[in-house]
Symmetry: C2
Subunit: 375 residues, 2 copies
C-alpha cells in the first residue's frame, strides 16, 4: 500500500494550474496549498488549535536539520513521533536538511558519501548521508519526507551545477533504498539543475524514472530574478508526471505563490509569514503594512480591511504597533496568525479560481490591489 | 453613585479569612483573588480569551508608569480607554507608578510636590505628582486606581519611613481631590509605614479617615523575612474597615498568597507566574518544576499531575522543555497559561475552604504537598 496518492480534480483551462487532493495517512490536503513552517516542532508562536481553527492550515512542515540537533530524532521517536510530540494530527512534511546544512552550518565538506558539517548551535561535528537522513526522517515520522539533496545557490557554474545535480540523483536512489517506512511515509525526489534548462530536464527525467510518489522543485528562489525563476519553473514542471504532487520549496510571497501555481505547482512553504511577523510586518490585500512604523501609532483600524481572521476581527493597528514596539509576545502572535491566515486564505481563493478557470483574471485583480507593478 | 462596593459573604471561623464579592462597573470579582499582571496592556504572551476561558482571571492589573511612557495615556484614552485598547471587558486595576518610579527609573528626586525621574526607556525626564498620576489613571480608565505613594524599601530607618509615610498620606489627600471620575473608577489609598507597627497604625487610621472605597497594603514583600511580613500584615489589617476590599501589592508565591488571605487580604497581584514562565519554570502542586532542566528531557508526563489546564491536558514536560531550550514562544505561552491558572485555581480553592471554615487545614495540606518546610 502506498502512503500517498494524488487526485487531479481540474486543470484551469487558460493556464493548466492544477486543483487536486493529496491523500495521506493523516488526512487529505486540498491543493494548491501553502504550508506553514514549524521549524523546531512548532509553527512559531501559535498552537495546533490556532493552526486548525484560525489559520485553517491543512499540513505543516518541520525541519530535519533542526530537530536532529535539538531535541534529537530519537527523542522525538520515543515521544511517539513528531505528530505526537508536537500534538498535530494533520499531515506533516519534513525537509531533508540539505538546505540548512548548506546555509546554516559551518565548515561543510561534501563528498560522494554525504556532507560533514558543524552544528550552528554548538560547533559539534555531524555527518549527513542519504542513509542518515532517511534514518532521521523515519524517526520523525512525517507523512511526506524529502530525499537528501544539495541546494545549489545562485549564480553557479554549469560544471558545478551539473556535478551537484547528478550527485543529488545518486543520493535520491540511496534514499529510496534506505527508506524504511514506505507504507506510512511518502518519499519525494527533489529536482535540481540550477538555472540550466538541460540540467533541469535531465534531473526531472532521471528522478521520474525512479517513480517517487511526489516531486519537489528545489534550488529556485535562491536569489535569481523573478522572471528567471518563473521561466525555469515553467520549463521544469512539464517533465513531471500529472498524477503526482509537485512541491516548490521555500516560496512564500503572495506573488511567487500565484506564479508557482500558474506553472503547475501544488505545494509551497516558506517561513516568511512568521518571520516578518517578528519584525512587525503584515501581509494585507493592499500590500505589506509595516505596522511598527510611527504612521500607525494612532491608527485604530484593523490590519487588513478585507480580512476576518482572529487578529483583524479584534485588534487595531495601534494596539499591535504598541505590542511590537514594547517587544510583547502577543504582538508577534497576532501578526503571525494574520500573516499565516492571509496565505492559507489566498490559496483557498486560488483553488476556487482554478475550478472556475479564472486564475489569470484573479491574478491581475490581486496584483492590482496588492500594488505589484509588473507581471 | 459609587464605582465600587464590597460585600463580605463569610469569615473563616478559625482565622477570619474573608470570602467576598467586589462589585465594579465591569462586573463582579469573587474574593480572595489573584490578579494577573498586564504591565504593558497585555498579560505577557496570552490573549484575553485565554485569560477568561483557560485561566479564568476575573480582573487584571496594568502599570501606570509603563503605559504613561509607552504608548502614552492620551493615546490609550483616544482608543477608548484601556479596556477597549487591549480588548479586556472585565475589571482592570492600575497601580500608581510609585513602585516603578523608585525601582526602574534613574535619578529620581523626591520633593513634597512629587517625583522627578528619568525614563528607563530613553532617559527622558518626567515628573509624577499626585495630580499627574490621577490624570494618567483617569485617562487609562481602570475600575480600580491607586493613589500615588512612595514604596519604601527594606531595611529603612524609622525617620525615613515616618517622613515618607506621612508624605504618602498627604499625596493621598491630593489624589482624592484630583480624581475626576469617581463614578466609574474607585480610588484606593495605600497604607505604608515599613516594618514599624506604630507607623502602620497611623497610616491606616489616617487613610481610613479619608474614606477611600478600598485600601492597599504597600511596602511589604520588599526583601524582609517572611515572618516579619506576616507579622506586620496581620497587625495592619486590623485597622482597616471590614466593609472595604483590601489589596496586598506585589505578592504572588503560593505560600504568600495563602498567608495574606489568612490575615484578611482580599486581592493580590504579582508578575511571578509569567516571569518564571519565561525562565522555564512551572508552579505545581508538588512544588516548583524547572522544566528547562535536563532531568525533564525525556519526561513524557504532564507538568502537574493534578492540573487540568490547557497545557497540562495537552503537552508533555519533554515538549515544553524542548520549546524553552529552543527559545520558542509557544514554550513561554504554555508555561504562562499553566502558572497563571495554577494561582487562579489555588484562589478558587481558597474561597471554598473559607466558606467551609477550613482554610487552616487546607494550608497545612497544601504546604505538605508543595514541600514548604515551615510556615
Amino acid at each position: 500500500m502506498q502512503a500517498l496518492t494524488y487526485e487531479l480534480l481540474h486543470e484551469d483551462k487558460q493556464t493548466g494550474a492544477r486543483r487536486g487532493i493529496i491523500h495521506t495517512p493523516h488526512g487529505d490536503i486540498q491543493t494548491p496549498i501553502f504550508m506553514p513552517v514549524g521549524t523546531q516542532a512548532t509553527v512559531k508562536s501559535v498552537t495546533p488549535e490556532e493552526l486548525k481553527e484560525e489559520i485553517e492550515a491543512q499540513i505543516i512542515l518541520a525541519n530535519t536539520y533542526h530537530l536532529y540537533l535539538r531535541p534529537g530524532h530519537k527523542l522525538v521517536e520515543e515521544a511517539g513521533g513528531l505528530h505526537n510530540f508536537m500534538r498535530w494530527d494533520r499531515p506533516i512534511l519534513t525537509d531533508c536538511g540539505g538546505f540548512q546544512v548548506f546555509s546554516l552550518s559551518d565548515l561543510r565538506t561534501i563528498t560522494e558519501d554525504g556532507v560533514e558539517f558543524k552544528s550552528h548551535l554548538d560547533g559539534s561535528k555531524h555527518f549527513f548521508s542519504p542513509e542518515k537522513v532517511m534514518e532521521i526522517e523515519n524517526s520523525l515520522g512525517a507523512d511526506i519526507i524529502m530525499a537528501f539533496d544539495e541546494c545549489v545557490g545562485y549564480p553557479a557554474t554549469y560544471e558545478y551545477t551539473k556535478n551537484s545535480m547528478e550527485r543529488t540523483t545518486r543520493w535520491a536512489i540511496r534514499c529510496k533504498e534506505a527508506h524504511k517506512n514506505t507504507e506510512k511515509q511518502a518519499l519525494f525526489g527533489i529536482v535540481q539543475g540550477g538555472m540550466y534548462k538541460d540540467l533541469r530536464k535531465q534531473s526531472a527525467e532521471d528522478l521520474v524514472a525512479l517513480d517517487f510518489p511526489g516531486y519537489a522543485v528545489g534550488g529556485l528562489s535562491v536569489g535569481e530574478p523573478k522572471e528567471l525563476m518563473c521561466d525555469v519553473l515553467e520549463y521544469t514542471t512539464q517533465f513531471l508526471p500529472k498524477n503526482k504532487p509537485r512541491y516548490l520549496m521555500g516560496v512564500g510571497t503572495p506573488d511567487y505563490l500565484i506564479e508557482a501555481v500558474l506553472r503547475g505547482i501544488d505545494m509551497c512553504d516558506c517561513v516568511l509569514p512568521t518571520r516578518i511577523a517578528r519584525n512587525g510586518t503584515a501581509l494585507t490585500t493592499y500590500g505589506k503594512v509595516v505596522v511598527r512604523n510611527k504612521t500607525y501609532e494612532r491608527d485604530f483600524t484593523k490590519l487588513d480591511p478585507e480580512c476576518d481572521c482572529y487578529t483583524c476581527k479584534n485588534y487595531t493597528r495601534a494596539y499591535i504597533r504598541h505590542l511590537i514596539k514594547a517587544k510583547e509576545i502577543l504582538g508577534v502572535r497576532l501578526l503571525s496568525i494574520h500573516n499565516l491566515r492571509f496565505l492559507t486564505k489566498l490559496m483557498e481563493r486560488v483553488r476556487i479560481e482554478i475550478e472556475n478557470d479564472n486564475l489569470l483574471e484573479f491574478k491581475n485583480e490581486f496584483y492590482k490591489k496588492y500594488g505589484y507593478t509588473k507581471e
